[in-house]
């Protein structure tokens, strides 16, 4: 018992057993699928189901109550327990570190459900994740027992299951420590470029069918300074409203004008481009030097994909440039795992700036930019993360190179294909099951990110804790990461999970859904047994038909 987070307990299980816990074995070839968008067919707009009105009303009332109680507690707390508010008031002539207003949400709402976030873990976040056992001993303190519990992992970004401590990728990474050390020692241009860096960049470029690429040691850092190298204040960036914080940060830093279009709304985008070109720059009406459209491949909070065919059509028609952030889609989408372009059968060369990360699918960290030789050459001497930032440590490069080689079949032939087919199957399997059980889930059919809507803020801790008690680790997200009324559970599917794991997840979700009243979908997003009626399959029915039905072209 201690307030300190303990060290990892010793694990005496055999390597085979551990390997199975990191990456479950495939039991049958029935549990495989190839994800691909039928060429020429328009992308179906994902239908966002609406819950009954009563849910919306009670959601707002919940927040109202939480806010009122929060203010009352603040009011009396400041009088009776001033020591708790020390950080919020001026002290000896110094301003507080942060404002009371700014931190209200954190102190009065998030703190209540703090145990659902930042659960410390140890070991590989593979098929199972080992969370330290803890209980809350006061508002800000946890007591750790020193033991840990293995939970089925639906929370880590481990789409292709490359988070492993054994196997060819790990051996390559270990060998890189021996051959290259633990650090790259220097920014790229001084002496931080090794032959391994060059090889990695070649492998990445080849994987993406592009001329060349640059690898950076952090995905966030890749975006955060990229745009400043591409645009100046006389350029316009048109950005999706739900773009990731790193993209928005990068755009802000670039100093270019920015306009935002409604999430994935192609009509809005079309109108915005046309008007922007016609109007030109504000006040002067001089024409824009260039226009860059910035989108993500797969939106990690919504689970839906960019409408790439349409965007490519628009960008070609209006001669804009296209930036696609494939953080979540690279590896996870497409028959060969080559991202959204692969999924939609669009040549990669149509995208001017392809960005992505190695964090999500490849079990590594870092990001890349790839594109035409001209672009990459220019970036090599004019892209500040590349010039001033640390270069990628060698073991990470080893992991990237080997995982990409597994996917293309150069290493362990067959393994890569299996991983790709399993993530496709698992994603559809879980999504269809949840839909049929009556949950509201967002996103595209093939997306490995499945947001399951909770709406009421109180259901976030309820669901998270109930699932945790069943040894399932999930991520709950609410305001401010989502709109106020749509708190959700985000499930990240992985190739490492077996069909039995998913059956277990579905069974538990079904029970918890009944318990917390979460099955309120109307059926407009599909899943109904009898057309027109809301889907409310029993868990037995779901499990019986799911394997065949999830492989039909449309999930209904």
């Amino acid at each position: 018992m201690s307030y300190k987070i303990p060290n990892a307990p010793v694990d005496t299980r055999s390597p085979e057993e551990l390997a199975e816990r990191e990456y479950g074995r495939l039991k049958s070839d029935d549990y495989l699928y190839v994800s691909r968008h039928p060429v020429g067919e328009p992308l179906p707009t994902p239908v966002d189901d609406e819950p009954p009105y009563i849910i919306y009303i009670s959601t707002y009332i919940s927040y109202l109550i939480l806010i009122i109680i929060g203010h009352i507690r603040d009011f009396f707390g400041k009088i009776f327990k001033p020591q708790d508010y020390e950080d919020l008031v001026e002290k000896n002539g110094y301003a507080p570190w942060y404002d009371g207003f700014e931190s209200f949400y954190v102190r009065r709402l998030k703190l209540r459900i703090d145990d659902c976030f930042a659960r410390p873990i140890h070991g590989v976040p593979g098929r199972f994740v080992k969370c330290f056992d803890r209980f809350r001993s006061s508002n800000l303190r946890y007591t750790y027992t020193g033991t840990s519990t293995e939970c089925l992992n639906l929370s880590s970004y481990n789409y292709l299951g490359f988070a492993q401590s054994q196997g060819v990728c790990t051996s390559t990474a270990l060998k890189c420590v021996d051959d290259y050390g633990t650090s790259a020692c220097s920014p790229r241009a001084h002496c931080g470029t090794t032959d391994l860096h060059r090889e990695c960049e070649r492998v990445v470029a080849e994987y993406l069918n592009q001329d060349d690429s640059i690898v950076i040691s952090q995905g966030y850092g890749t975006n955060a300074n990229l745009f400043a190298s591409l645009v100046d204040p006389e350029c316009l960036i048109i950005s999706d409203e739900l773009n990731h914080a790193s993209i928005r940060f990068g755009i802000r830093l670039s100093g270019a004008s920015v306009k935002v279009f409604k999430h994935n709304d192609m009509n809005d985008l079309n109108k915005l481009i046309r008007n922007s070109i016609a109007q030109g720059q504000p006040r002067t009406h001089r024409s824009w030097k260039k226009i860059i459209i910035a989108v993500e491949g797969l939106y990690s909070m919504e689970g839906n994909m960019v409408n790439l065919p349409e965007i490519v059509r628009l960008k070609e028609k209006y001669r804009c440039y296209l930036f696609v952030d494939e953080a979540h889609s690279i590896g996870a989408l497409g028959p060969e795992g080559r991202g959204v372009c692969d999924y939609f059968s669009i040549p990669h060369s149509k995208i001017d700036v392809l960005m992505g990360t190695f964090t999500k699918s490849f079990g590594a960290t870092g990001g890349y930019i790839s594109g035409k030789q001209e672009l990459i050459d220019a970036l090599r001497i004019n892209y500040i993360t590349n010039i001033y930032g640390e270069s990628v440590p060698p073991p990470i490069l080893g992991q990237i190179i080997s995982s990409l080689n597994v996917l293309t079949g150069k290493l362990n032939k067959g393994e890569g294909v299996e991983r790709l087919k399993r993530i496709a199957f698992n994603s559809r399997y879980l999504r269809l099951g949840l839909k049929r059980l009556g949950f509201i889930v967002y996103g595209s059919d093939d997306s490995p990110v499945i947001p399951l809507l909770l709406f009421l803020p109180a259901k976030m801790p309820a669901v998270s804790r109930l699932l945790y008690d069943c040894n399932i680790a999930v991520v709950v997200v609410g305001y401010p990461a989502t709109p106020l009324s749509s708190s959700r559970v985000r499930l990240c599917v992985s190739s490492a999970l077996t069909k039995e794991d998913l059956d277990y997840v579905l069974t538990k979700f079904s029970e918890i859904g009944d318990l917390t009243y979460l099955k309120f979908s109307s059926g407009i997003a599909g899943g109904s047994k009898i057309p027109g009626e809301p889907p409310r399959w029993s868990i037995e029915e779901v499990l019986e038909h799911n394997t065949e039905d999830c492989k039909k072209p449309k999930l209904t």
Binding site: W97, I121, N158, C185, C191, A228, L379
Partner: protein, 581 residues
């Protein structure tokens, strides 16, 4: 650098705004207004139903017309605000076009290329990057496109000063971690991305640096931008050294706080600014956050900040101190604890310290240390922490073991063996260079303590070649806002870099020693940029003989170079030569 007049000019405008208060004639003015207003109100009588409104207004405010007027103004302002916020763009600014005209305009629009194609004047820089084959350390196998392959070159271009990348202890720690945790962490710290190794490193670091808490970042370069933006908002104030690195410049731009610049390392200037600001700030209610921002060991100049003086000033005027120790952790002080240890100042005087694991610690990532509420706030609102995957576990483990390597192996005086060896080599090389480089080609600009020795072309020599005192622009210093236009290409900067590259190449060819030079993205720098420097990065594992050899060659080469390149005509020859590098 920020000239005094200019700073004073900005100060005086500040004073004006601060003293603008309501004048005593306000009362007279309001009574006149009130009369007028009541007069206008009477018109309401003429409108049907207006009498009722009039009576209501008059009675509700007990015939206090100024108050009604005030509320009316507020009402109009509010309406205006809500209506205009829907349409941000000024209506009058929007031109009316028919669909057909828009089609036509779209067809006519000629976009610029995504990036300019690199001309030969710039592209030579691409061919300067050395490629290391295999293990990076004190001795490397290096290839450059211009020279070809060199087996076993002495590496004085790496920022791994303590040579921990070749340490058995560090790499075996990394390997054991990879064998249990895999490579990546697969999630942001708040979503199952915090592992026991991360927590251990945070503890080790806060113990090492003697602070309450520490927080880890996935990359050193994004740390500053994320930390500063988490605490400094519009209306907060930073007094900043005008020699800071690009990472800090960008961080300050993003935070949108008010900025005052003091001349690089000029404590008198800092004192003057703080004392001039203090009467204004004393009136401030509520108090806003105020910081002094500086680097410990400046990456652009290689000199160190005068910490005791800064601490004295910041306590006197009640500022917090933000110290960027990216280069100085693991370098300065008897056990490598950075600038405070070097000066014997307690770490608690420094509100926010940031640093990097990627240099002396032979790992990767960045960190921030300080008091608990400050770190705690970052865990929720620092963008690069919340929205990015956590540091790779093995990097955390390597950093922990690097700290152990530095702190546990000490000599009889309690100094770290590694660190004192670094200090010894640094001052040896510094003194040797100081002694020999007397032919007025190179001069040393860095402090004797800096393990990165900055050699600049000599001042007089640069004058003869008609090279400017600094590059870039001063817009940011003078107006507090970065220039809208980026610096653009500078041929003279290019040539100066090329001269240094020639020196680097010669040293590599003759003595098999790899050096480097400052490499800046001139376009992105918001502050005046120092002229390019030749950089010698001391490494503990490099022998004294190698250092002697380096000093000797540098002496020879600078002699030859100063004869070969004497005036501006010679520079023009270089201009041609560079095209075929």
């Amino acid at each position: 650098m920020a000239s005094q007049e200019n700073v004073q000019a900005t100060m005086s405008t500040k004073l004006v705004t601060a003293t603008t208060t309501l004048q005593p004639s306000f009362e007279q003015f309001s009574s006149i207004l009130a009369d007028k207003f009541v007069g206008y109100l009477d018109y309401l009588n003429n409108i049907p139903g207006g009498t009722i409104v009039l009576r209501y207004i008059k009675s509700s405010y007990k015939n206090d017309p100024v108050r009604s007027l005030f509320e009316l103004c507020l009402f109009i302002l509010a309406c205006n605000y809500f209506l205009s916020s829907k349409k941000k763009e000024n209506r009058s600014d929007i031109l009316d076009f028919s669909e057909k005209e828009i089609d036509e305009l779209c067809r006519q629009w000629e976009p610029a290329p995504l990036v300019e194609k690199l001309g030969p004047q710039k592209s030579w820089d691409l061919r300067c990057t050395p490629e290391i084959k295999g293990h990076n350390g004190a001795m490397v196998q290096v290839t450059t496109p211009h020279i070809g392959e060199r087996v076993k070159a002495v590496n004085l271009a790496s920022s791994d000063f303590l040579n921990l990348n070749e340490s058995e202890a560090v790499s075996s720690a990394a390997k054991s971690c990879i064998s249990t945790c895999g490579v990546g962490s697969c999630g942001p710290p708040n979503f199952y991305g915090t592992q026991d190794v991360h927590v251990r490193l945070e503890e080790d670091l806060s113990e090492y640096l003697d602070t309450e808490q520490a927080i880890l970042y996935g990359q050193d370069f994004t740390t500053a931008g994320s930390v500063i933006a988490a605490f400094l908002k519009r209306g907060d104030l930073c007094v900043v050294d005008s020699g800071i690195s690009l990472a800090l410049q960008k961080a300050l731009v993003v935070s949108r706080c008010d900025l005052e610049w003091y001349d690089h390392n000029d404590m008198d200037h800092l004192d003057r600014i703080l004392s001039e600001l203090s009467p204004i700030l004393d009136k401030q209610k509520p108090i806003r956050r105020r910081f002094i921002v500086t680097e410990a060991l400046f990456s652009n100049y290689g000199d160190i900040a005068d910490l005791p003086k800064i601490v004295e000033l910041k306590n006197k005027y009640k500022y917090r101190l933000f110290l960027d120790e990216t280069l100085s952790i693991g370098v300065l002080g008897d056990t490598g604890k950075g600038l405070p240890e070097y000066y014997g100042v307690p770490r608690s005087e420094i509100a926010i310290t940031i640093g990097s694991f990627a240099l002396s610690f032979a790992a990767s990532g960045g960190f921030c240390v300080g008091v608990t509420p400050m770190i705690h706030h970052q865990r929720i609102s620092s963008l690069a922490y919340v929205f990015s995957a956590s540091l790779a576990p093995f990097s955390a483990k390597s950093a922990s073991s690097a700290i152990k390597e530095i702190t546990t192996k000490t000599n009889s005086q309690g100094k770290s063996v590694l660190i004192s060896s670094l200090h010894e080599k640094t001052s040896y090389l510094y003194n040797q260079l100081k002694k020999t480089l007397t032919n007025r080609f190179f001069s040393i600009v860095s402090s004797p303590e800096s393990p990165i020795i900055h050699l600049s072309l000599d001042k007089e020599y640069r004058k003869r070649l008609n090279l400017p005192i600094f590059y870039g622009n001063t817009e940011f210093l003078l107006n507090g806002k970065p220039a809208r236009k980026s610096n653009g290409f500078s041929q003279r900067y290019n040539l100066e870099s090329y001269i240094l590259q020639k020196v680097i190449d010669e040293v590599l060819i003759r003595e098999n020693i790899l050096l480097t030079r400052s490499k800046n993205a001139l376009d992105h720098e918001n502050l005046p940029v120092a002229n390019p420097h030749l950089l010698i990065m001391v490494n503990v594992a490099v022998s004294f003989e190698a250092l002697d050899k380096l000093v000797k060659t540098l002496e020879d080469i600078s002699h030859e170079m100063s004869h070969k390149i004497r005036n501006q005509e010679d520079l023009q020859i270089l201009e041609q030569e560079l095209l075929t590098y």
